[in-house]
Assembly symmetry: C2
Homo-oligomer: 415 residues x 2
């Protein structure tokens, strides 16, 4: 059985980022840049006034002029003409381009403007060249690095790209991820079970909680979920149910990967031409994990196939440990190795068992660093125990007691 690290290495070796393609800027939020972006021009693209006021030559003012003829009104977005006379000034608005001959702006509050003569006068003020002027290129100059490949785009990045008119953004697309649950015991999540009734219709059945949960995890990770419903544990028809999923970028199966009589998923996938990369890993929950690759009719793309355990907590944890980094790598983020952090245990914990355990837990950031505690968890079927969880604690194999205050390794579940 592979270790978790070996399983990661095996997946990582098979997964290449998608080809880069362009999306329009407003839809680029959350995508990862696939190419560096440099500034196509200066920012601001022209010198502009930071104030509503009067623009004039600082040399004129400093040589003693205090009275100026106002020859133009320059609103933001309009075009001014250069000034050349020593007693000439312009009325200029915030954000308007500074014309040639002007190199400072005196705010309107410090100006005495006579509308009848259109003359503005000033008292003695402390002035300097470029007073209240933002020089061309003072924020960024043309050809400077703006954003690096690998940046996951957030709102302020969208704004900065818009400022420079970069309307098409080179990213890697979202993987389309099909989900198929297997198991004769499964019914859709909105199927009405009748509790308390012993063995008429419905007893022995459980709802397919994995499908909507995995769909939500796929969306949180940046992928696009395609729920395919439930396949029965039927050797005669299972292949027909599974072949559909192989036309997508990633195919998640749940259930049918253990060693039981009805665990038909691995042989059926192999019969369909999926190459097994590994089956079973040293992990709790998630020992039966199956991973394979399929190079069939998915527009020339590989389909990455994960056979997740059927128990919902196992599916939840295996998704975060193996599928999410795969989605991230396809979209241009590192994905592997897994991001772990060190946190302080808030209450005692213990571990026993021959496999490393990723135990659902709850962490929070505090003024002195991250703190974590396990949630009460009754096993792989106990999904409601994970409601308060936002991470797993990685306990090594073996028996050990971890007193409160111990440092443990934590894998956060990101939204």
């Amino acid at each position: 059985m592979l270790t978790i690290q070996q399983a990661h290495d095996a997946i990582n070796a098979h997964v290449d980022p998608f080809e880069a393609h362009d999306v329009s800027l407003p839809s680029a939020l959350g995508f990862t840049l696939a190419a560096d972006v440099t500034t196509p021009h200066d920012s601001p693209p022209f010198a502009k006034s930071m104030m509503d006021g009067f623009g004039l030559s600082s040399a004129s003012y400093m040589s003693g002029h205090r009275s100026f003829r106002v020859t133009q009104l320059i609103a933001a977005g309009t075009i001014g003409m250069s000034i050349s006379e020593a007693d000439e000034a312009v009325r200029i608005m915030t954000g308007a381009a500074i014309p040639a001959g002007v190199d400072m702006v005196i705010p309107i509050e410090q100006s005495n403007h006579d509308p009848s003569t259109n003359v503005v006068t000033f008292t003695d003020l402390e002035v300097r060249p470029n007073l209240n002027v933002i020089l061309q290129g003072s924020n960024k100059q043309a050809g400077q690095p703006l954003l690096s490949a690998g940046t996951k785009l957030r709102a302020q990045h969208i704004g900065a790209l818009a400022e420079f008119g970069i309307a098409n953004i080179t990213v890697r697309r979202r993987p389309i991820v099909a989900i198929r649950a297997t198991g004769n015991e499964l019914v859709p999540y909105d199927f009405p079970l009748v509790p308390g009734v012993e063995f008429p219709f419905g007893a022995g059945l459980i709802r397919n909680s994995n499908e909507p949960m995995l769909a939500a995890q796929i969306m949180q990770a940046g992928g696009e979920p395609i729920p395919l419903g439930i396949a029965p544990d039927d050797p005669d028809t299972l292949a027909d149910y599974l072949i559909t999923g192989l036309g997508f970028d990633i195919f998640l199966l749940t259930g049918g990967v253990s060693a039981g009589d009805f665990d038909l998923v691995p042989p059926t996938l192999k019969a369909l031409g999926v190459t097994e990369v590994f089956h079973k890993i040293q992990l709790k929950p998630g020992k039966p994990l199956w991973f394979g690759v399929y190079n069939g009719p998915n527009n020339g793309n590989t389909c990455y196939v994960f056979g997740l355990p059927g128990n919902p907590v196992s599916s939840l944890v295996c998704f975060e440990l193996f599928v999410r980094p795969t989605i991230e790598k396809l979209m241009g983020l590192p994905g592997f190795p897994l991001s772990m952090m060190t946190a302080t245990l808030k209450s005692d914990a213990s571990h026993h068992g021959d496999r490393p355990t990723y135990h659902p837990a709850s962490f929070e950031w505090t003024a002195t660093g991250p703190e974590v505690q396990t949630v009460t968890w009754k096993g792989s079927s106990d999904l409601s125990a994970t409601i308060a969880a936002n991470c797993t604690i990685a306990f090594p194999a073996g028996t050990a007691h971890y007193p409160a205050g111990s440092q443990v390794q934590v894998h956060a579940w990101l939204s």
Copy 2:
């Protein structure tokens, strides 16, 4: 001028969460529950086997029986019948319901089954009642609290709701947020400016970076953006441009809210019947912020109107400080007061000015708590400076030097 706290109180006093309504479970990710949810039945809904193996009576085994007739095969999802004979056992699969008379399961690996006689025998094993059985209700019992109102739904919550067949989820809808930029100097973000050319077509114009940036911020906060484009600074037509935005839940304007000759937004909004709640606050960047409410033809809902400053960094910061908490409160999260955290300065910083400043900064979680440093920021137009930022540091009014290691208050920008 109001303080930031007073401005928050004023907004908070006007904003009520939306009415609750139901969405289908698969689309509930990211919404906030508007009502407590209790479990409609036990989990698991029946006792089930944790193993592939043979189910029998622990009392029979403990009274000495080691050989049992196998009378049924119970696969997951099928219905078994009760057993009553002391030498009777059932072949049972993982996840299958335990029939009456069976109270433990011996794994197949520890069993000797003769298919010709259909008799299973065991060596002496350490057994107990409920060995390898998950009892009905052992994860959750019917009527227990599952999720509380106010929970923002993540993947594992979707899974837990699905397990209980809760197909309709009571949440509060997304606000629809219109965006209108004002300013004669603005052109759409994909408008080709010609840099370096002095004053022909294009000089004096800048792109409307606020619209795609605010649209991204609205999406990050959970709202649905409606970009309305650019309105000119024209007193004769501005009302026609603004009235469109008043039909949405929130209307964000950018620009035109300072005291300049062309700052027509506040009087035009008032003429349209929007009630001003406040104008101008003690904040840098964002002093000109305007807020009002409109009870017009928006399906009976109030429209909350924010006049944001036109400079993109001011818009970015004011959105995070005032609009995001409004969206959150409408959707059922607390929203106010603002979540601040204490972080340690990684490098020296200083502040001067008569207004509190929310300075773009970059924080990261470390093993010893959050650390933060300012980004180099040349003013409200310097949007590219915010590329490395993921928060603001709140510096109080006045002049002060903050050496590295100081504790400062930080407002994180959440994605």
